[in-house]
Subunit: 420 residues, 2 copies
């Protein structure tokens, strides 16, 4: 039989009942809607405000070239070999110093461990902390891929609404009181504290302090996911929640994806060594170690000061895009449409009048040549239908303006249809 | 308070009961004994035959330099950006072609997916296929990190003994009959089919074909882990089990760790697209995608023919080391000691007389200046005490000879003590 024929036969319907071999949990797994959605958009000439990608223009290619050349001369043995599960020690040390300098968090390398992007941190945290039924607090809306990562471990999500100052901590407190009365506890609160994905908002200083107090009072942990905090285009920096953590309750997640390049798949966990040790053991079984080649490159990037030099350049590149989106929203959006005004990050969150279903509206938008991410999937219980996430980092200003213009037209028609 | 003081306070005993936050499964997680062991050995002047590392001299540093320079010119946008979960399409295509050419397996890119080393493949396979209590067949001994990866998913291991022709498939058949009589089924058979880790043996052609027949007859899958098959120093190549798979029952795992560099943390799964699709969804929640930077480099490495050029060089480098270990074992080991005679790979498996406990003997060996891996942990039920794994790839010939000589002395004393 010819190779080609054999291949066709093998890939054909076949006799195996493939589904019958999957675990029960695998049967529940669903592909990320956003990723599926983006596949459709990719192949057309639609303006996509849907993505979550950094602009490739912000990747420091020349620096990477120089560093790579250097480390292949001086550190090839480390960069190309297996590494320890915790990560490349000089990089952990450099990150500890960087966090201390940048955020005023006293930090030692024993508190830092490297992971394959913060997505892996989310999965490992699920693995190490969540028992089925454990209560995990998330923001409403929250980072979709965090929901996906945690879901595998069967927590019960408690979704706390947000306003322009981030998670409404007073509402959390009420819920904590209720849970306490029922003899229940929260395992951890997950927050993207600064320039949140998807909402763009930042938790206020007052709420950060209050959240730490509540964590102590009601004995829960805080997972602070902070991929965007360095991308500040206006306003004053606020220290991370981790800054106020004297007990070791905060597990902080950092990533190189937005301040270096996502292609290195490199993030870090900063947490108490007791927690790091257990997460390290979990990671050992999962993939042995984070990419040593990328880690050695990242070490030079941080230790030689390239990171601090490069961040202002990313900010300079993104700020006009954010401003263009602000202006376009202001100019084109009809009455009844609201949006967040982030001081940084990558996303703006748009709320349409009640009754509009942005998921249903998506097809019309794509027909008009614009795409966004419907907000529904960002809510743990998918109970909000009239929101959407817009990205302003990937396409240039003029395209942003045109995209928002097209989107505004679709929304106007939708509102009209709703009233009519 | 000073930063230093704050740090000490934070890292001190503290008031948190850290253990109380861990999931039940996390409480069961144990660090890999081998990794812990190797930490001890690293810091002394002991000759370590314990490791499992490729020799850094085999890393094609100059090729990597040239490729990296090129792809940062031509493919920086792909290499530094997020990638799709399935992996970089040109690399998947190149691997499909390579496997077809090399192993005579008709293969399409839809059957290939990239992972962060084959360790991640093992974890994802556990996640996608194992329900608690599912029967997973392993070799006795088997790859330790596979046991660790699968264990999280609570399978029941069935350990099948091996001889010089690999897993004794007749014994497997008996067990399958017994299980069938009890109304039970095996979910999958896990085998490192060629130059096994830890035993070094290769499953014979006859047994490969019989295993595929049994898989059909008793309806189970086969996970064929094949990190070493390209490292053949003598004898004739045997096609992978996957070669005989007409139904899509074999999930084949490949890796760049032994034929390129482990520092890229890059492996691949070759399996029926039905299985690939589900594993892809599982991977999405776990870490989004394998390292695109490493993938683009690996693509050039395979597609431009460097892989095929480089494999003979690795073989040339390792063969004298294997031969040196064969000779030293022959020369120094006392009667009653047996070892495998691998045609390739990285390991030789040594069996001592009954009654010797290699784990207990380890301390004496280290005192004599040599280290090995006690065999116990490679058995699913830790029921064999008198075996050890020796690695011959990491240290040079003379060191191997000296290491084996020291080891033989320790063993002689141990046997003497046993008799006396």
């Amino acid at each position: 039989m010819e190779v080609e024929e054999k291949l066709i036969k093998k890939l054909g319907s076949g006799s195996l009942d493939f589904e019958s071999y999957f675990s029960e949990k695998a049967m529940e797994m669903k592909a990320s809607e956003i990723r599926e959605l983006l596949k459709l958009v990719e192949s057309s000439d639609v303006i996509s405000l849907a993505g979550g990608l950094p602009a490739p223009e912000t990747f420091p290619v020349e620096t990477i070239k120089a560093i790579t050349e250097e480390i292949l001369k001086t550190h090839a043995d480390k960069a190309l070999q297996y590494g320890t599960t915790k990560g490349f020690t000089p990089l952990r040390l450099a990150l500890a110093e960087w966090m201390e300098k940048r955020y005023g968090i006293p930090m030692s390398k024993v508190e830092i461990m490297m992971v394959a992007g913060s997505q892996q941190a989310l999965d490992l945290i699920g693995r190490v902390f969540i028992d089925p039924g454990d209560i995990v607090v998330v923001e409403g809306p929250t980072y979709l891929a965090a929901l996906n990562a945690f879901k595998y471990y069967d927590p019960e999500f408690l979704s706390i609404p947000m306003d322009d100052d981030g998670m409404i901590v007073d509402i959390l407190e009420e819920k904590l009181k209720e849970l306490k009365a029922e003899g229940k506890k929260v395992k951890f609160v997950y927050t993207v504290s600064t320039f949140q994905n998807p909402a763009g908002v930042t938790m206020s200083l007052k709420r950060r302090k209050r959240l730490i107090e509540l964590a102590h009072e009601y004995d829960f942990l805080i997972v602070e996911d902070s991929p965007y905090s360095e991308l500040r285009y206006s306003g004053k920096p606020i220290p991370p929640i981790k800054h106020f953590d004297d007990e070791g309750r905060v597990i902080y997640l950092g990533t190189f994806s937005k301040i270096f390049a996502p292609g290195f798949r490199l993030g870090w966990i900063a947490a108490h060594p007791h927690f790091i040790r257990k997460i390290e053991i979990a990671k050992q079984a999962v993939d042995l170690c984070a990419n040593p080649f990328a880690q050695v490159i990242a070490w030079k990037y941080v230790a030689d000061g390239h990171l601090d030099e490069h961040i202002p350049k990313i900010i300079e590149f993104y700020k006009p895009r954010r401003d263009a989106m602000f202006e376009a929203l202001e100019e084109y959006m009809p009455e009844g449409v609201r949006w967040t005004k982030p001081d940084g990050g990558m996303f703006i969150w748009v709320t349409l009048p009640e009754g509009v279903d942005t998921k249903l509206m998506m097809e019309k938008a794509v027909a008009k040549g614009v795409a966004y991410v419907p907000g529904e999937a960002f809510f743990a219980y998918r109970d909000v239908k009239n929101t959407m996430r817009l990205n302003f980092t990937y396409v240039p200003e003029e395209t942003i303006r045109e995209g928002v213009k097209r989107l505004a037209e679709v929304i106007k028609e939708e509102i009209k249809a709703l009233k009519g």
